[in-house]
């Protein structure tokens, strides 16, 4: 069974159609990458996967075989899909530790949860801002680390990482990439969204998909990234239209 299975997904906001018949499956343990130009619908896909209310979506999204389309956002997390946001919002007055305390209350094994929090805090180096308001005044790299940290402690079946590399300098990209590789297990499926191939130098994805105008226009192995770098997205647009 695939960890994530998307079939014929359409999404729109008001009159604007953004996703048009998107199909994508990720087996557990695999890392798939979606690349695509700005405005192709990558973030929309992520938000539709985690149930953001303003998007209207039809089709099917199954997480570990369970249909999640139409369910509220918190139940998506319960079903096992969690997102690292491209633009994580600031939560004034609520610290990362406060959030961990809330989440601990839901755990079957709180001790194991706190042990994971402590381990991941050190691994991903978020100790410095555990007691600061979530995302408030953090640098770009710190925000990304905070997102990866949250996903790591939630231990989902599917991690959706939206432009986890954007707005970072070279060193920060490598650090974030290392944190992503450190997340990988035989159980976790990762959907990593990126705009550039830069981060791919440090990652070992299983599949790469090119997204244009709300659908996947081409899929291939890791070598597709190099090809994209040579031709740019426009070549794929012609393929898709032609």
């Amino acid at each position: 069974m695939n960890a994530l299975e998307i079939k014929n997904l359409d999404a729109s906001i008001g009159e604007i159609k953004i996703l048009r018949g998107l199909d994508l499956s990720i087996p557990k343990g695999a890392m798939h990458v979606i690349m695509g130009p700005n405005g192709s619908g990558k973030s929309t896909l992520c938000h539709v996967l985690t149930g953001k209310e303003e998007y209207e979506a039809t089709g099917s999204v199954k997480v570990q075989g369970v249909e999640v389309l139409g369910t509220p956002t918190d139940q998506r997390a319960g079903a096992g899909i969690v997102q690292a946001f491209q633009y994580p919002v600031e939560i004034p007055g609520v610290t990362l530790r406060d959030l961990m305390e809330e989440l601990a209350g839901d755990q079957d094994d709180p001790d194991a949860f706190w042990a994971r929090v402590d381990r991941k805090r050190d691994e991903i180096k978020v100790g410095r801002f555990m007691d600061r308001a979530i995302n408030l005044g953090l640098s770009g790299g710190e925000k990304k680390r905070s997102e990866i940290f949250q996903i790591s402690v939630l231990n989902p079946a599917v991690a959706v990482l939206d432009e986890i590399d954007s707005g970072l300098d070279v060193d920060a990209v490598r650090e974030v990439a290392e944190a992503v590789e450190a997340m990988r297990t035989n159980e976790l499926a990762i959907l990593l969204i990126t705009h550039y191939d830069r981060i791919l130098r440090y990652l070992k994805p299983d599949r790469i998909h090119v997204m244009m105008d709300g659908k996947i226009v081409r899929s291939g192995g890791p070598e597709l990234a190099a090809e994209l770098e040579g031709t740019g997205y426009e070549a794929f647009r012609k393929v898709a239209e032609g």
Binding site: V82, F85, V89, I91, P92, L99, E102, L103, L154
Partner: protein
Amino acid sequence: MKPLTPSSSAGLGGPAWLIASRSAAAEAFATAAMPDPRLEQWRYVDLEFDIADYQLAVTPGDAQFEADAGPTAGRALVVDGFITELEGLGRLSELSAPPASPAIDTGADIFATAHTAFVRDGVVLHLERNSAESDTYLMEVVATQSSTLSFPNLTVIAEEGSQSSVLVFCRSADDVDALVVPRITIEAGPAANISITIVQEWGDMTRALAQLHTSIERDARVHLGEVGLGGVYSRLFFTVDLQGSGAHSEISGLYFGDEDQTLDYRATINHQAPRTTSNMFLKGAVEGSAHSVFTGMIRIEEEAQQTSAHQTNRNLVLSRDASAESVPNLEILANDVACGHASTVGPLDQEQRYYLTSRGLDRDRADRLQVRGFFEEAIGLLPNQAVAPGIRRIVATKYAEAQAAGRA
């Protein structure tokens, strides 16, 4: 009970200056009318009561100290307007002359006039020159008798270079339909450093109209913390006069109105001298059909050059029938100043809700966390942090109850 008449006023006794000041006000009160709702100071609220419906209590009800304030330098318990316990603090009636400035314009409104006319006695904190007290002074104000009206009074006289903190805690039981008109006067002498935290937890039926006046001299600093939680109607009318160069006023606070409460804040900050600074940060929430008002006037006189004045008021409106007014005003007569105000009124933030629910918290829990965070910023700024845990608990309970009852 005694009606609000000149003879009731005359019967309150005390030193000659107090009797004379009461008597003049009692005369003015006899012809005073309830406020005209068209006046700016009374806009946005509907008082729905008449002061004449209340009378003076003749004996205090039964009440003990309750606040968990830690060690105190002095404490006063004021019950139904009577000072029933007093340790380490003085009384207004013991002063041989009135405090330096009768800072509040007693003609300002009927409640100010009534206070001057019928104040029984007051609590006085007199801080000697350069004295520093690390423990807090506590004043607890309690109303126990329905249909009564009381005038709790606190005067803080901080001489040059003195330092101290004060906690005023107001409460009544939920079934006490009383009217309380407290007055607090603070005179901060040169380079004094005073903090005062006022926590009001009036019961569901109590009405309170508090007046607070602060005057701040050269290089002195006064930090006012205000927490408004209770009362069917609770008003705080306060003025701060920055009278000496380098004077600083800091105001931090929060309020949370539930069901049919009205919480009404009227602030005036007068910058009267050069290089004075003021900063105000107030956060409020309303649920059910509650209503809140904040009007803030920053006035900068011509001679108050190089001053800075900032005011932030943020409001969460948690239900369809609740409402909040936030009206900042600036009146600037000097040209070399830095002023700013930020005022917002709105519902819970959808993006924050999405973020928190995406971590697996259900919507209600996510909203509770957001509300907690919203107030945390203000609670963290209160000068007296000993009260913070209790306030967090009350705010959390208020919101959880509103959610459970479908009011938010």
